[in-house]
Structures are given as structure tokens and as C-alpha cells.
Symmetry: C2
Subunit: 575 residues, 2 copies
């Protein structure tokens, strides 16, 4: 393709408000432009990359037995009401009425539609297993779109769904998809970390995230520095304080203490001369509207994801002052002592300290000597604590847990019967009994994958596209005032039969063209100059290594093919 006809426009300066390298470089290179917050246009060079990524995704999904289909973006709301997600999902689900007043949603995922398809298709155990997938536009009204292509409001998602007779069959199939996911990422030149993940709004019995470590990522994962334990911060666990074997019996009775003008936890620890761990942290939530108090040792934080999973609630938000005062609780001074009628969730850490300082549910008052079990009833304790940097690894019991930011590239879920139960999808087994169908689902964002590739493959000068998904193989240009353009054109036509070539046919200085070549990041840059032509040579630069080679015209195709082959081998961890 010729530069001048390919809708390419580069910019010298970094765009404002772009923080991630991928966001900056995609804008500077004119690969994308922003239409509105979280909405982008993908220009021709970016679309070639996306096409190549999609081809890899399709090949791997087909190899996992997947069959591609296409479901509509406009979804009738009835199906979403059937699963309850019409009400449980917040404002990110766009709802509207058509001109006849029928309620629709813009699909942000397709469990409802595909489960409905399966419901009409499956009758017997012989109809399973099967896997369906699509690559299709998804819409999510993100409140805060950010990070360029990382968190957007519209994107191409590859979403796959597998259907099984039972959990065993799902368990047997799941690793096949998992392996194909690893292959997809590695064929694109990426080495993400797969971690145990929280299933969130998808539900189900287990899931994995494929996370790309990235300083600007918005997800947080936990990695053990000794074993291979990896988990999402919302899901992971470290070794937690050991519960007391026996509580001392000589703890003085509960004592209410006036604590005026004390505003921070720090002031409170100084007032009582205790450590953070001797405080009982109490947080009041509204879980699907019901008031719930969660308690944890003061040196830990509550994981709202874990709490949501424990409560199996759709929505969880901090309780407002009004709700609290109606129950006679002063916000900021919450304590489970004396609140027997309110649902309590206690983290395991509460059992590790003999007595706590806690709020007294009264403005400017705290309790001293709060003894769990004596001063309030404790339900069976659970894990609702967020892992802390440097906690010990619960898996190997030796290592230390580290926190690492990352970008989630893909997510695989063992959904189990969450959707088939809600939508009554059953089959007859070989004994003629009616059973619920078991499902898995597997998602992956095309644009985000492309952004991840750039996060992992760039330098100061620009992008360094992996050869397998580059917009073209070769950036071709001619330099020198007296160079005949016809010679470059001739080479352009010649190379096109074997390679994809971006020919910079602009009337620009060599300096500008060299800069753009680095910025756009094609694997090879081929310079035609009078000087080298005189000895029937051309100059080839490998973008990744910066290596420059003078190559005879006679063996050009052979040399280029060899270099591209080597680059692809280095990228693909499977070859």
C-alpha cells in the first residue's frame, strides 16, 4: 500500500491526556482517533493488526472445536430479565426502548442469547458437547473510560460458550480452551500470567484471568516470589493471623470511653496507645438493600469482591448516614457490640486478638475491651480480607506475596449451571432423566490485546510490532535528490508479490520518513538510495534490534523471508 493513499497521519508530539504508552503511540502514529470518551475509530493500519489478531483467534478457537456464529447487539430485554441481570447490572448496561416501546439492551456479553439458542437446540445428551463463539461488537457504558483502548465503551470481543452434560465434561474441556488462550497470546508476542480470578457478575464455580504485567494496568494481581501461586487481588489469599487457641478469661468488662475531637485512625491509636491490629474495623454496607456490618482486624482491608461473593448479592454499596442513624448507629463509630439484630460478617482475623478497641455506635465514643463472642455474637468466620503486599504465601508457606499491576487480556469461566438454571435449559441423559446443562464461557478483547502488544513492544521512538501481526512487513522508502522514483516503484511492485509493503511515496525529507518508520514500527525498513543502488544493494533495518544490513538486490526476497521467519520464531513461544 502507498502511504499517500492509506489514510496515515502521524503527529510529532505526545497527545495530551494519554498516559499509557499504547494509547500515546496509537494516537501519535495515527492508528486510531477518539470519536468520543471511550469510543475510537480504528484507521486502516490498526485494522490490519486487528484483522491479523482476529485470524489467530479464529484459528485457535476452531482448533478448540469452536464454531463461529453471530448474535445481535440489540437484545430483547426479556432474556436479561430471565437471568436477573436486567436489574442486577448497573448503568454500564445500556437500556432503551424501540419505537414501539419494547425494552432492549445493548449486549455487553451474550450468555443470555447463546443460552436461549442452546435451549432451543439441546434435547438429548447426544447434542453435547459443543462450543460456539463470535467476534462481535460489545457495548458497555463505562463511567470512566480510560487508558486508551484498555477501558472503552465499545469494543470487539471474542466470546465463546461451551455446553456440557456435566461438570466433569466441562472440567475435561476447560484446559483445551485454556491452552488455546495461551497460544493466542503467545502467537501475538505476549506472555501474560494466568491467575485465579473472581467470577464477578458472570458467576460460576471458577475462573482464570490472563493478565499482562504492566505498570499502568488497572488490575491488581498477587504473585508469590517463591512458588507459582498467582491470583487476582479480589480472589487471592495469603497466610492470615492464627486464631487464638483460647481467649484469656481475665479481660476487663466492656468500657465506653469518651474520645472527643479524634478524627483519624492514627489519632485513635495514639489515644489508646495500641497498634492498628488491636482495632476492630467495622464497615456498614447495603447488600441488595439490606444493612450488613462487616468486621475485620484493623490492619486489614475488606475485599468487597470477597464480601459480595460471600453474600451472593447483586449490588454492594457503603451504607449512607441516614440508613445508619435510623438504626441508631453513628457513622464513623460503628461497632457490632449492641447490634444483635443486624446481619454481621466476620473475617477470620477477628479471632486472632483477645480484645479490641471499637466504635460505640455513638458520636465521639469508643469501646475498650471488646471481646468477640462475649460482647457480641460472632457468626462462623469467613475470608473477606484483601491480601497485603508482603503477606506470606498460603500455597507454598515459604514465599512472600507481591502485588503487581496488570491489564486483563482474557478471562475464562466455569459457569456451571448459573445460566441454564435461570433459563431452564435441560437435556435427557442416557437414562432418560432430565438434567441441567453445564456451561463454560471464555472472553477476550481484540483492541485491548492490540494495546497489550504495544505495552510490551515499544521503545522511545515508537511501536515495535511483532512480525506475526504487524500492519505490513516492510516500510519502503527512497532517499537522495537524484534517485529515480521509478526504481523505488519497481521494487515496490516486485516485493508485493511476496510481502506486504508500506511504500512511503510522500514528498517529505528522509528524516521525517525515518522518524515515521520508527513510530509506525513495521518489522523491517528498506531504504533505496543512489549510493547503494550503484552497487546493486539496498539497506535493510530491523526495527526490533536496530541492526542495519546492506543486501544485494538479487537475494533480497530470500534475505527478507529469512529475517521475518526468524523474528516470528523468536516471538512465538510455541515454535
Amino acid at each position: 500500500m502507498k502511504y499517500s493513499r492509506s489514510f496515515i497521519k502521524t503527529y510529532k508530539d505526545d497527545p495530551k491526556h494519554a498516559e499509557l504508552p499504547s494509547h500515546k503511540l496509537l494516537l501519535r502514529g495515527g492508528f486510531i482517533s477518539q470519536h468520543a470518551a471511550g469510543l475510537f475509530c480504528f484507521h486502516p493500519l490498526a485494522f490490519v493488526v486487528m484483522e491479523k489478531i482476529m485470524r489467530i483467534v479464529r484459528e485457535e478457537m476452531n482448533a478448540a472445536g469452536g464454531r463461529e456464529l453471530l448474535m445481535p447487539v440489540l437484545n430483547h430485554s426479556d432474556l436479561w430479565k430471565e437471568t436477573g441481570r436486567y436489574d442486577s447490572i448497573g448503568g454500564e448496561l445500556i437500556r432503551f426502548k424501540d419505537r414501539k416501546g419494547t425494552e432492549f439492551v445493548l449486549a455487553m456479553t451474550h450468555e443470555e442469547v447463546v443460552t436461549d439458542l442452546a435451549r432451543h437446540f439441546i434435547s438429548s445428551y447426544k447434542d453435547m458437547p459443543f462450543t460456539l463463539y463470535q467476534i462481535q461488537t460489545k457495548v458497555r457504558d463505562e463511567l470512566r473510560p480510560r487508558g486508551g483502548l484498555v477501558r472503552v465503551r465499545e469494543f470487539l470481543m471474542k466470546d465463546a460458550y461451551s455446553f456440557h452434560t456435566d461438570e466433569e465434561d466441562l472440567e475435561a474441556y476447560y484446559p483445551r480452551i485454556y491452552d488455546r488462550y495461551e497460544r493466542i497470546f503467545r502467537r501475538c508476542g505476549l506472555k501474560p500470567i494466568s491467575i485465579e480470578a473472581d467470577s464477578g457478575i458472570m458467576g460460576g464455580s471458577g475462573s482464570h484471568e490472563f493478565m499482562l504485567p504492566c505498570a499502568h494496568g488497572e488490575d491488581m494481581m498477587i504473585l508469590c516470589d517463591s512458588c507459582d501461586y498467582r491470583a487476582n487481588l479480589d480472589k487471592g489469599t495469603g497466610i492470615k493471623p492464627v486464631p487464638l487457641e483460647k481467649r484469656p478469661e481475665d479481660i476487663p468488662p466492656l468500657e465506653k470511653v469518651h474520645t472527643p475531637a479524634i478524627k483519624t485512625i492514627q489519632e485513635l491509636t495514639e489515644f489508646f496507645s495500641v497498634n492498628h491490629e488491636q482495632f476492630l474495623k467495622s464497615v456498614a454496607y447495603l447488600a441488595d438493600g439490606e444493612l450488613v456490618i462487616a468486621i475485620i482486624r484493623g490492619d486489614f482491608e475488606i475485599s468487597e469482591a470477597k464480601l459480595t461473593n460471600h453474600l451472593k448479592c447483586f449490588s454492594l454499596e457503603l451504607a449512607d448516614e441516614m440508613t445508619l442513624s435510623e438504626k441508631g448507629i453513628a457513622a464513623g463509630f460503628i461497632s457490632p457490640a449492641g447490634l444483635e439484630s443486624i446481619r454481621l460478617v466476620a473475617d477470620e482475623t477477628v479471632l486472632s486478638i483477645p480484645s479490641f478497641i471499637a466504635g460505640a455506635n455513638e458520636h465521639d465514643y469508643h469501646y475498650r475491651n471488646v471481646v468477640p463472642g462475649r460482647d457480641f455474637h460472632i457468626p462462623p468466620v469467613v475470608d473477606i480480607a484483601q491480601v497485603r503486599e508482603n503477606d506470606s504465601c498460603a500455597n507454598c508457606e515459604k514465599g512472600t506475596l507481591r502485588l503487581q499491576r496488570g491489564i486483563e487480556l482474557g478471562h475464562t469461566f466455569k459457569l456451571g449451571t448459573k445460566y441454564t438454571e435461570a433459563m431452564n435449559v435441560t437435556y435427557l441423559n442416557d437414562k432418560g432423566q432430565s438434567k441441567l446443562v453445564v456451561m463454560g464461557c471464555y472472553g477476550l478483547g481484540i483492541e485491548r490485546l492490540m494495546a497489550g502488544v504495544i505495552e510490551s513492544n515499544h521503545d522511545e521512538a515508537g511501536i515495535i510490532w511483532p512480525a506475526a501481526i504487524a500492519p505490513a512487513d516492510i516500510y519502503l522508502l527512497g532517499v537522495g535528490r537524484n534517485l529515480e522514483q521509478a526504481r523505488v516503484e519497481e521494487l515496490y511492485r516486485r516485493l508485493q508479490s511476496e510481502f506486504t509493503v508500506l511504500y512511503d511515496d510522500r514528498d517529505e525529507t528522509p528524516g521525517t520518513k525515518f522518524k515515521d518508520a520508527d513510530l509506525l514500527g513495521l518489522p523491517l525498513r528498506l531504504v533505496v538510495s543512489e549510493k547503494h543502488l550503484a552497487s546493486d544493494n539496498v539497506e535493510l533495518k530491523i526495527r526490533k534490534t536496530g541492526e542495519i544490513k546492506i543486501i544485494p538486490l538479487s537475494s533480497l526476497e530470500k534475505e527478507i523471508a529469512a529475517i521475518l521467519h526468524r523474528l516470528k520464531e523468536e516471538e512465538d513461544y510455541f515454535i
Copy 2:
């Protein structure tokens, strides 16, 4: 692919409420299912066809210099307000607010977004020409979705946009796209008729539609039986009655006649003993809210498309009784006589008759001896008449015009400066003068093309897919109780290296499998039976011709390749 794992389910009976053969056969063959009115799921076999169609479209668009990109479905309303289409397009444009209250539309076409892209890209004449295209989900809230895939609410559209320095460059480029459109259709086995078309809501200076003749089509075209004149009914013209050279001067004066209890035109012609052509048909419209009366000779019908174009209005609807009575006009008795203050549009046919019978703007009264120019002022006459079957051809002046129903497969528009003027997209020419960019746009629906293919390629038993876009080359099955399945599986694996094979691995009777093979319509059906295997043969049936051949296993690939090649040659009118 194996039948049992490919999400295929066929139905014996025709679906209810499906009229078009394509709709019936796609549902019966389990290629598609309806999600909601005008919204479909495309199952794996249909998606393969769509993929193949999209590949052909991409090849041809690339060959026309097009560069593929991707624009968002969610469009910020500001751009649509800039062109005026936010207000001018009716309920088929879905409008909604995001969670922050910003107005968005779901794009039904992308002139606004692509013109905005061009506005940021183009500065000099050197930046043009270029062509951008995408294949992307379009949403239109059709009031009456119908015809299966012919009129839907969501579909994949290939929409292309070309940008030029002037009309001459657009005129020079337009035939390239036009030719590529012809190639796309013919490579898919279709021979549509290209016709002059009305530009409708797109505007611009000229356009062509590619119409597939089809008894169930919802579009109407005019064809001359003698020359190659073809036009959309909304655009075409035939030879119209010749205007009088001179009106007789002895016509009696206007006379008001009481015409009680006369309800139909028929009764009126009998009452006055005249023909239809001696009536002056007057129809009152609201054009963007303004009352307009259109008049035409009584044996003609008004083309609302022509009237809209003439008035350059956004909306045109019949005037209601209330509006008419406020102006002192009795609905059903409209006449231009005595209504000098109301805007009048007169068709040319009004000049062909000396005097007319017309309404008297009063209930149960008509005028006799209405002389245009004498009894009311006539504006310059225009053509707002719909062509009638059997009108004479205005092009060759010999032939007779025929009406033909059809399906619109694609539409190409010379947009001119309609959008670049509204959105102020200019460039500097080689003299440093600022000029408006000139545009063309070119649309084509993927699903509708697939439906068109079936309308043109089916029989009583099912679909007959053209080999170039069939879901697979071969339908493979084994018959006979004692046949070893392993022999069929072996052949399945062997053939897959050269062809795409759908292997019917179900535990069904041969009769069922034969029926499904015909219904699903793959080009070749390959039957493995004990009898033929005994002599190292298999049986091959060509779906299109019904021809059955016994072929030696040893030369099977060669024979199949030859037959497929021949089928493709017959389909593709360009080879």
C-alpha cells in the same frame, strides 16, 4: 466439521409467517434463528457463507483502492446534529442518552463519522483521493421488519466512502467502484440489474441501485423491453402526455356542481361522463410542516419520492383534515382553484388537457371546466408522476416500460458536497484556494446479499449454494447397516486436506440424511456405501444438476476438484 458438533438442526415443515424462499429455507435449514422482530442469530453454517461473502467484498474493495477501517456503532449526536440528520431522520434512528446524559445515536450509516475523520485528515489536494470502507454492524429501528433477512433492524453493512478534490475526480472514480460492485455480485453467483436510483436521505447528485429481480422483493423497478433503460420506480420517467399547443378559448366558465353521495372516483367519472384523465387529482401534503398541494392528471399517481426531491424537504406526509379545514378546505374535495395562497406543485401532465373536473374545496361539491392558468395560477411544471406499467420508454422512444419487483442488494451514491458542506470539510487546491471536498459513498448488506443468493439459487428440496460461497464443499455420509464407520471417518480426514467437508456423523436414517443434504444445499454430496466400497468406488451427487456419478476412490480428489472448478466457472460471469 462434524454435523453433531456444528450446531445444526433442521426442521421438516416450513416456518409460519415466512414468505420469501430465502427466509423459509434459512429457518428450515437451521442457518438462522430469530431473536426478536428483525433481529437474527446467524448459526455456524450461515456464518461461513457470510465470511466467504465478506472475503469477496474485501478483495474487490481493496482492488478498488479501498482501505478497511472500523468506526463505532455508538455515535455522539453532535455530528448528526451538524448534518441535520439528527432531526430529519425519523424513528428508525435509535437515539439514547448515556449514563451521564450525553445524547448518542446508534449509527445506521457512517457519513457523519467518516466525514469528521476526513475533516481532521485532509488539508491539501495532495491528501486525495482516498477510499475508506468497513464491514460493520448497522442498526435501524425498522417499523415493519419483514422478508427474513431483507428488512431487518441490525445487519452487517459494507459501507465505503471516497474523497475527491472535485466532481470530475469523483466521476472518474465512480465507475471503478461500480465495476467492483458488479464483480462482487457475480462472484457470489448473482446477476443483479443496476438501475438509476433516487438518493433518498443520503442526498447527492446521482446514484445507482443493484437490484435482484425477485417476485417477493419490496422494491419496484422499471425496465424497458426494448432498450437498456432501467430505473427505480421513484426515479424513472416514461414518455408523458404532450402538453397542448394552445388551449381552446371557448371553454365555458368555472361551474360549481353539487355531487352528493359520491364517494369514489369511479362514481365521479360516471356522474360527469368523463375519463380518469379529465380529472385533476389534487393531494395535500405537509412538507416539513408547510402545507403544499400537488396536482396531477387523474390517470397518474404522484411519486412522493419525486415530490420530496423537488421540495428538498426532510419529511413529507399527507395533510390531516384538521389542517385542511383550518384553511377552509374540505378533505376529499381539494382543488387548487381559489387557493392562491397555498404552495402548489404541478406535474407536467396538467398541461395536456384543456379543462378538468376538480374538487371545489367544499363538501359534496366539484368544479367543472377548471382551466389551469385561467382558474388558478400554475407554477412552472415539474415531473412528480410515477411511471405506469406500459408507459412508453423516454430513452429509446420505442419500447414499453415494465414494472418488476426486486431486492436492493447495493447502492452507490455520488454524494458531492452534501456532507462536506454541512461539516465544513475543505482543502487547499494547487493555487492555495480553499475548496469543498467531494464525496461518494457505496453501501452493500452482507445478510441481504446472502438472502439474495438463496432467492436465486434454490429448488423445492432446499438451497443450492454457489460453490464460491457454500458453507462447505462436500456433504459426506455413510449408508448401510454393516458399513464400518471407520471407513467414512478415514475418508473424512483424507478429504479435509483439500476440501471443506460436512460429515453427517449422526445416528439417523439415510432418508433423513439425504433430505438434509438437499436442504442444506452443499455443492456436492458424497455417499459411502458397502456396495460401492466393494469396488473401491463412492457416489457423488451434484446438488445443482442432480447428476450422480460413481467415482473411484483413487481419483476422488481430482474428480471433486474438477467438478468444483467447473461449478465456480459457471457461477462467475467474469471468468
